[in-house]
Symmetry: C2
Subunit: 159 residues, 2 copies
DNA sequence: GGAACAATACTCGGATAGGCCATGTCCGAGTTTACCCGG
DNA sequence: CCGGGTAAACTCGGACATGGCCTATCCGAGTATTGTTCC
């Protein structure tokens, strides 16, 4: 099980976009983070379709957050990039083989599926408790308050 | 992010093996669950290498649990099948781009990586809290106590 | 009858193809900007 | 000098190749059984 690394890019991009009042193009975001522009565009597209970002075309267009960073959770970003499907997909082993259960006894999920779903819920709850604003604050704290000001300065400049 | 469905098979097989005092071959486990025998063998091999199962060759050989079901957690099975790597792999975006941080400021993990690691820890903790014995009991409860006795009967028979 | 030996059948183990999704890239549709021309 | 029109440049959006991992499978190495043969 490996999480798409696009999630990491998307989270960093959301943190960056929270520092800008104007839209920022995919090309500039890619240059700032040192990642492939075309591929990042694909993920930003997904964030736009999920309603997290708002895209504006044109020369001064780009992407901007639709909500304040405090109202965007890491789970929102993960679901937008990686898809809403749960990590575990039950294939209903109960209904196969010589001891297959009849469908009327399979109304509720099997115990294995329930255990995996519980773990998945715990994972999602942890992600839901972290917002883009939290990440921004933590990153700033790690750099003694210089990281975000540097980002704002870079965004204001020509790049 | 999708979890290998081999995890589901491995969990069910561990529950089944907990009901048998004698080794059970991969072919019989596959037939009981209605899954491809050769592919299941690959996963059972992984469980054997992880120290969860003990394999005995020969005509009456097969796989058996190395520990009581109460001492085998779902996390052990997941790690054996899916690998020990965490779901999120930080690519150190901080060190890339025009605002790259110097390595001496990257001693601790970045905030994004920490948040994902926390969620991963929650997921693993939930899996670690569930044992094969718990799953066995839950499955039996779902079927009003008939599932495990049926499995034991089938294993005792010719199959 | 008992024991040793050889043949056998069954088991696991690793090495080997195929399919699907994530990765990486590209070009076209749409829009804002800037410039140029006319009044 | 000012307004309208046009051309251009820049943006996003979806469609198009490529690689790696999961899926699926096979055959060879090793061992307990079993039958046979000899003492």
């Amino acid at each position: 099980m490996k999480l798409s690394n696009g999630v990491e890019w998307a989270l960093h991009c959301c943190v960056t976009l929270g520092q800008s009042q104007n839209p920022v193009s995919a090309a500039r975001l890619a240059k700032l983070h040192g990642i492939p522009p075309a591929y990042l565009a694909k993920h930003l597209q997904a964030l736009s379709q999920a309603g997290i970002l708002h895209s504006t075309p044109g020369p001064v267009g780009g992407y901007a957050l639709t909500r304040p960073p405090a109202r965007i959770s890491a789970l929102d970003v993960v679901r937008a990039i990686d898809g809403p499907e749960p990590t575990f997909r039950c294939t209903e082993i109960r209904k196969r083989g010589p001891l297959a259960l009849p469908p009327e006894e399979c109304m509720n999920a099997c115990a294995v599926s329930r255990a995996m779903a519980t773990a998945d819920a715990a994972w999602r709850a942890a992600l839901e408790g972290v917002t883009i604003a939290d990440l921004t604050q933590d990153i700033d704290a790690d750099s003694s308050g210089t990281a975000m000001s540097g980002v704002r300065e870079w965004l204001a400049g020509a790049g």
